[in-house]
């Protein structure tokens, strides 16, 4: 019914729906009510979008975009994906070790990324997302009639991703709350996937739902561009 009102039903379905509505007063009433609700929704639309303070916006954008960051990123693309993923893992371990030795106060404090380590963290994160994306896509585009048996999973690979995720999440610390939240969401998914392999109790469609509802694939895609 909603699709009909959007004008997104095919001709055959439109004819069937109209035929049914002629005979069914309940559905006719529901259709009329939904149409009225759509009219009200239409009335809430803001016709006059105000002008933004374009100059202020552009000057902020201009300040934040930096050429060195761009140049640094381009040569990463020369590496094949597996090499980048391996390098990222080694990089994460080294950064973790260095930070642990230099900035971690024994007995307290949080492990966070500081100064130049931030750049290395960003590179590691991008490479990690490159490795993760195919797995997320496989789940996000899983057909509802498919079971877990249709998924081709390399359990060891998923476990490696989980380890990388945990390390990166710790490195994100409090200074990168958005990254940390995203990594927490991804950790839930990876744990769910590894649990599913062990017990067979989890539902891949539930994982799919979680990925789609939280917009995780989208966030990974965009975050991977930075």
């Amino acid at each position: 019914m909603i699709l009909f009102l959007y004008g997104e039903l095919d001709k055959k379905s439109v004819a069937e729906l109209k035929d049914h509505i002629e005979k069914c007063p309940d559905c006719a009433h529901e259709m009329e009510y939904t149409g009225k609700v759509f009219d009200l929704v239409e009335e809430t639309k803001t016709e006059d979008i105000p002008d933004a303070d374009w100059e202020k916006c552009w000057s902020r954008i201009d300040k934040k975009v930096s050429v060195p960051d761009k140049q640094r990123k381009t040569y990463i693309n020369f590496f094949p994906k597996w090499a980048a993923a391996a390098a990222a893992l080694v990089c994460v371990l080294i950064i973790g070790f260095v930070i642990g030795r230099t900035t971690f106060i024994p007995g307290g404090g949080d492990m966070t990324v500081a100064g130049e380590s931030q750049d290395a963290f960003q590179i590691s994160l991008q490479d990690y997302f490159d490795s993760l994306r195919p797995l997320l896509m496989e789940y996000a585009h899983l057909r509802e009639d498919n079971g877990s048996d249709k998924l081709t999973l390399d359990k060891k690979y998923v476990e490696e991703l989980l380890i990388q995720n945990i390390l990166l999440k710790r490195l994100a610390g409090e200074k990168n709350p958005n990254d940390r939240q995203l990594l927490e969401d991804i950790e839930l998914i990876l744990r769910e996937i590894t649990n599913m392999d062990k017990n067979g109790t989890s539902n891949p469609l539930m994982i799919k739902e979680y990925i789609n509802n939280q917009g995780i694939l989208n966030a990974v895609e965009v975050r991977g561009m930075i």
Binding site: I2, L3, Y6, E8, Y33, T34, K36, V37, F38, L40, V41, E42, E43, T44, K45, T46, I49, P50, A52, D53, W54, K56, C57, W58, R60, I61, D62, K64, V65, V67, D69, K70, Q71, K73, T74, N77, A140, H141, E144, N178, Q181, N212, N213, Q214, G215, L217, N218, A219, E221, V222, M225, I226
Partner: protein, 194 residues
């Protein structure tokens, strides 16, 4: 390939080389479209400006990954980033709101539907709808805004939100049903005829 498209391609290529002047022209070409979506999504100028900035910063940093072969156009690629930024923005905002409400008791008393004697006006209903849309989960709200306020096709929404058409339909269905259910209660309480 027409002149305008050629010009945009040149701008993209120059911007990919780090030319900020070219990027500023791309900003000029696309700023209204991105801001319009962000404003319809947040209904707040300041928030929409923040999303606009996030979108273009992310776009600039991801320019070397933009390939015309993979994306239908630069503006649709930008739109996709804008959708993602808007959803992230709202998620953060809701999270912050939630953590604040853990600390303080938020006064949620409102005028809506409290007094059975009061007659519901069409304006009441519109306000109620605005509130219901505002309270939708971020992705559901994005699907709803793209469909009802930006008038996009479900296929396009799925492309921008990077999910299946089925998932978009589900989000729209839930959003519309929620509004219908809430209005039905309101109308029943107030015996209002639309």
């Amino acid at each position: 390939m027409n002149g305008k498209r050629m010009e945009t391609l040149d701008l993209i290529q120059n911007a990919q080389q780090g030319d900020r002047e070219a990027f500023s022209m791309l900003f000029e070409e696309n700023k209204k479209k991105v801001f319009g979506l962000a404003f319809n999504y947040t209904k707040n100028k300041q928030d929409a400006e923040d999303i606009l900035q996030d979108t273009f910063i992310k776009a600039f940093n991801g320019l070397d990954k933009f390939q015309l072969k993979k994306h239908s156009s630069f503006s649709s690629w930008l739109y996709r980033i804008s959708v993602s930024c808007s959803i992230d923005f709202l998620r953060d905002k809701k999270r912050m709101k939630k953590s604040l409400s853990d600390w303080e008791l938020v006064d949620r008393t409102s005028s809506e539907g409290r007094n059975p004697e009061e007659n519901a006006s069409r304006e009441d209903l519109r306000r109620k709808i605005e509130r219901l849309v505002d309270d939708m989960p971020p992705r559901q709200k994005m699907a709803f805004v793209l469909k009802h306020f930006q008038q996009l096709k479900i296929k396009e929404i799925a492309e921008f939100m990077e999910c299946s058409e089925g998932s978009v339909k589900k989000q729209l269905f839930r959003g519309v049903e929620n509004i219908k259910g809430s209005l039905k209660r309101l109308l029943w309480e107030k015996d209002y005829e639309m």
